[in-house]
Amino acid sequence: MIRGWLVAGVLVLVLSSIGFAKLGNIIFDDKIESLKKAGMPPAVFPHAKHEDIYKCEDCHPNIFKDKRGANDVTMHKNMNGEFCGAAECHNSPKAFPLYMCNKCHIK
């Protein structure tokens, strides 16, 4: 009897922790040769931080396709209003501007 409740309790704790899980940091390093030429480390995107502020559909799938490797992100495209530099995001007063390199390209 007690054993049954114990098992249930452990299962409940383990399963409900699924609700706390967030996506981890995403590192944009597929253009690593170009990044090395520019002397910059790859950009680190904190998905969890953005999950706190936005809903999924604010970015997916209009700005970023939600599949790893499906988005060809370059700094040039960011500067032109795609991806991170979207008009509501880092090319707007809502977030820090794109020339603050070290905020994303974390050494």
Binding site: G4, V7, A8, L11, V12, L15, S16, S17, I18, G19, F20, K31, E33, S34, L35, K37, A38, G39, M40, K49, E51, D52, I53, T74, M75, H76, K77, M79, N80, S92, P93, F96, P97, L98, Y99, M100, C101, N102, H105
Partner: protein, 240 residues
């Protein structure tokens, strides 16, 4: 018999588990909302260096909430040339956010808001006055020097292509003409830029910190927010 018991046990536990998982999701959502709501403020803002170029969007409050100390040493690349009356870097374009633009404006001298609103001075994308356009359109014709005896040096037309180190970001075409319209050679050469091709190893991060172009752009000249204002020449063959 044992099998019977475990089936009974499971059939009671499973709905209980499902119910509790549901509660778990709801609770975690509430918790993360509560966590996100409380510090809407500078939990994550790193210390702002005085030379950090101000974000120039019209509606944005300047993020470095701390006062910038008014260092006015011309040799120090981090010196602040233009502070508003709240002690922050000026140039957000929105006087409601930054306060009066200077002590002079506060004292009653300065741009008359009606004159600005009358669109005499052209504005750029960020609502800041586009001085380059004002100069090119002859809207303003300032004297070349306060000293009446000094000879006027004509503007020099020479475009310098500054290549971006990355494969994708467009190259910068630096126009000497508009800069020499405003400035004498000694202002930049050789203190800020060595006057030889390839001798200045510039980085965007350094520019944002106040070196090279950032000595003026972000302080008295237009801020670095509009990337494509300088990065105008696309790379020819985009490598993958």
């Amino acid at each position: 018999m044992k099998k019977c018991r475990s089936i009974k046990f499971l059939s009671r536990m499973i709905p209980l588990i499902i119910f509790t998982v549901f509660i778990g999701f709801a609770a975690s959502k509430l918790i993360s909302q509560a966590l996100a709501a409380e510090p809407a403020k500078p939990a994550a803002k790193p210390t702002a260096k005085p030379a950090e170029a101000p974000p120039a969007k019209p509606a944005e409050p300047t993020k470095p909430a701390e006062k910038v100390s008014p260092v006015l040493d011309p040799k120090d690349p981090k010196s602040v040339l233009y502070l508003d009356t709240k002690g922050k870097l000026a140039g957000t374009g929105d006087p409601a956010k930054s306060g009066p633009a200077s002590e002079a404006v506060k004292a009653g001298q300065g741009w008359h808001p009606a004159a600005l609103a009358a669109q005499i001075l052209p504005k750029d994308r960020y609502g800041l006055i586009n001085w380059a356009k004002a100069a090119k359109d002859n809207i303003i014709t300032p004297r070349h020097s306060l000293d009446p005896k000094e000879e006027e040096m004509p503007a020099m037309d020479m475009d310098v292509v500054i290549e971006a180190k990355s494969d994708f970001v467009s190259d910068v075409v630096y126009p000497h003409y508009i800069h020499t319209w405003w400035l004498k050679c000694e202002v930049c050469h050789p203190a800020i830029f060595l006057p030889a091709k390839g001798q200045n190893n510039m980085t965007m991060a350094g520019i944002a910190e106040g070196k090279w172009c950032g000595r003026c752009h972000g302080k008295i000249a237009f801020p670095l927010a509009d990337c494509n204002r300088c990065h105008t020449q696309p790379k020819r063959a985009v490598k993958k």
